[in-house]
Structures are given as structure tokens and as C-alpha cells.
Symmetry: C2
Subunit: 207 residues, 2 copies
DNA sequence: GGGCACACTAAGCGCTCGCTCAGCTTCGGC
DNA sequence: GCCGAAGCTGAGCGAGCGCTTAGTGTGCCC
């Protein structure tokens, strides 16, 4: 059902770093279930069933249901941060790099919507230690976007009064794509990415 | 704890239309609990406890836990729609009305964050009938914002290529405030509302 | 001041949850 | 061909869930 979505954009097949195979199948099943119904409404029996295994098999590969969420969240945040870093550190003007960052970040949130939903909206189900680890990654995400905007302002490319507030708004806009994007809707991830890159350049007053 | 937040902005005390008193206390307790932990992670014992009552008392005023969520969602959406309609139908240019709509809509999502969180993020916990009713209200919310933007384009005030896509982005931006806004953070709801009105006018290319 | 409607509680029912454990199968090493 | 490790299952434990029911206290009407 979501196989087509998960491989959209011609990206490398996700979760390939998760081994062995049974652990990956359980993790993919958990992503789908958490995205559909939320972490608390998902049962371990449901996850195991989607992976074609008995409920007890889950506990051979993961200590608890929360460890599954933690692993998903960690891998997802690493990927999101990687996307932004790649865009932020390429050659080009701040305008080009911001457009690139926004369009690729949005493409990921739309094209890999199930994963992004879990990553962005189930944070509060994590325990204190795991949550702190993920929040640190989020601060790095924030810093990447803020960096591009600051450089654009310094170079005279952008016209922004409140850099911190605008950064927050830009990230919020991109992240919320995971909430409303519909795989069967009229827009492709690429179209939304292009629209959002244009909107964000307007927000920062790019020339 | 959240009393100050709930009355922020000098608005009329919310939930006053819910009677009798015990039913209102239960509903307010449910809003706080759902916002903190999510619908599925909240127990009826927790809601009743916050309202200073026994678990059984809940079922004198509400048929099920879901009815509580439905009532909260309905009242919240009615309020959100009312805010947008008031801004959309006042006197003034499309630019003035869009700025007014965004700033008041954002003030509500920031100042009444607990309510807005439940209203905007717990929709999928509702059953099919209740969900359909709420989705209809959301379409009306969408139509109000789209109407202002269309009028602005027709009047030559705005420069927008994709009206539907931009409407979606504007609403998404405002709604997501409920996810990240922190009552103890550096910004007041008024400041966020003003910043966002400016950002949205830039997004639609207002002169 | 007796009776009754109403708001509420204490106790608990049936169920499903996350998780455990004893035992079965499979397979590589020798 | 035997053995132990690894992967997995069927059965089920203790806990906590949403919700019900029998009974209690309170205040209003006549």
C-alpha cells in the first residue's frame, strides 16, 4: 500500500541499514502502524502481524515498543538533518541554497510522509532520555536553516527583521507538510517542493 | 497551570456555553489531558481525577470518552471558523483582511494552545461520523482563506500563481503554531500573530 | 417531613494491553 | 549424525483499560 510512496523520488530504499531482515520488517511495519493510528493506539500485536510474525518475535529484536519508536525517530532525524546539511553546504548563493534546502526537505516530508509523520509528531511518546537526544538533533536542524537565512541577510540577498522567528516559521511550514500531504491528492512531492521554495523565498524577501 | 494561558488575550472565558458546571469541569480537564498526552494515552480515570470526581461521574455527563473529544473538537472548530469569518467579512482591502485573519487566527492557536492542539491534531481519533462533520467545518475554514486570497488577486493586490496551494500553505503555517508554541517561551501570541501576518502578506506578494 | 429525582461514588466486569517464557524448529560446525 | 545457538511460536501473566451497576447522600416539591 505504501511501497510506492516509500520509494518515491528514486531515493535509495530506506531502512536498508537496519539488519537483520526480520528487524527491518518489524520496523517498517511499526512506521506504517504509528503513522496511521499513532504510537499509543498501535499495539505490538498489530506491528508483529503486519510483519507476518507472532507478537513474541518483536521482543527478540527490540527490548520494548518504545525502542522501535526511538530507532525510527533517530534514523528519520538523521536523514532530515542530512538533507538540510547537503543543501546548506553546497556551492551557490544563499537564495539558491535556501530554495534547495526547502524543496528537498519538503520533498522528503511529502514523498516519505508515513516516516515523517512518525518522526515529527510522535516525539512526546518517547521517554526523557530519548526525547533529549532527538531534541538535540532538532536544534541542529534549526541551526542549519537559520545559518542560511543569516548568510542571506549578511550578503544583502534577504530582507528579514526577525531571523529566529522566520526560521521557526519556515521549518514549521515544511514540517507540517507531513500532516496534510495526501499521496492520492492532486500534487506530487516535487510540485509541493517547488511551490514551497518559492513561498519561502518570498517570506525572506529574496530579490 | 494553564489557566493563565486559557484566558490570554482578554478573550471571553472559554467553554462558558458548556453546562452544567460539572460537565464543563470534565471537559476542561479532558482538553488539558488530551493536549498533554494525546487522546489515546489519556485515561478516563485521569480526566475524572483532574476534575476532582470519580471515574463513574464522567459517564453521567458524556456517553463515552470519544464524545468528550467530539464536543471539544466541534466547539474549537466553530470558534476558529468564527474568527476567520469575522476577519474575512469586515470592511477593508484584501490585504487588510488577510493580515487581520492571519494575526487573529495565529493569536488563537498560540494563546489557546492546549485547545488548538486537541482540535487540530486529534481528529483521527474520532469515529467516521464525527470526523466527517469536523472535516466539513475544515473545508469552510479553507474556503474563507481562499476567498480572501482570490479577491486580493482579482483586485490586483496580490501576486499568486497557485491560489489553492498557497491557501493550503497559509493555513498549514498558522495551524502548526499550536504544535511548537511555548507559553513560557520568548514570544507572546500577539508578537507571533504580527510576525505571521507580515510573512503571509509576503507569501501572497502583497504590495 | 416524606418521597423522589438527581448527582455522584465504590466496586468491579470483561477485555486487551505490553511483555514473558517454555518449547519447537532450523542450521552450521565437527 | 549429534549439538548448541539462534529465531520464532503458542500460551498466558499481571496490569490497567473503558465502562456499568448498585447504592448513597442531598436538596426540592408538596
Amino acid at each position: 500500500m505504501s511501497t510506492a510512496e516509500e520509494t518515491a523520488g528514486g531515493e535509495v530504499e530506506p531502512w536498508e541499514e537496519v539488519t537483520p531482515d526480520a528487524a527491518r520488517r518489524l520496523l517498517v511495519a511499526a512506521v506504517e502502524a504509528f503513522a496511521e493510528r499513532g504510537y499509543h493506539a498501535t499495539t505490538t500485536r498489530d506491528i508483529a502481524g503486519r510483519a507476518g510474525m507472532s507478537p513474541a518475535a518483536l521482543y527478540i529484536h527490540y527490548k520494548t515498543k518504545e525502542e522501535l519508536l526511538h530507532r525510527i525517530s533517530r534514523i528519520g532525524h538523521d536523514k532530515a538533518l542530512d538533507i538540510l546539511r547537503t543543501a546548506a553546504r553546497r556551492e551557490g548563493t544563499a537564495t539558491e541554497r535556501l530554495a534547495d534546502a526547502v524543496s528537498s526537505f519538503v520533498r522528503w516530508h511529502a514523498g516519505r510522509r508515513t516516516t515523517a509523520r512518525v518522526v515529527q509528531y510522535e516525539l512526546e511518546a518517547l521517554g526523557p532520555d530519548a526525547r533529549a537526544e532527538i531534541l538535540d538533533l532538532r536544534r541542529q536542524v534549526d541551526a542549519e536553516v537559520r545559518g542560511i537565512i543569516q548568510e542571506g541577510v549578511a550578503a544583502g540577498e534577504f530582507d528579514v527583521i526577525d531571523v529566529h522567528g522566520t526560521t521557526l516559521a519556515v521549518l514549521s511550514l515544511c514540517i507540517d507538510v507531513a500532516r496534510w500531504f495526501n499521496v492520492n491528492g492532486p500534487r506530487t512531492p516535487e510540485e509541493v517542493g517547488a511551490l514551497y521554495a518559492d513561498l519561502v523565498l518570498r517570506m525572506v524577501g529574496a530579490k
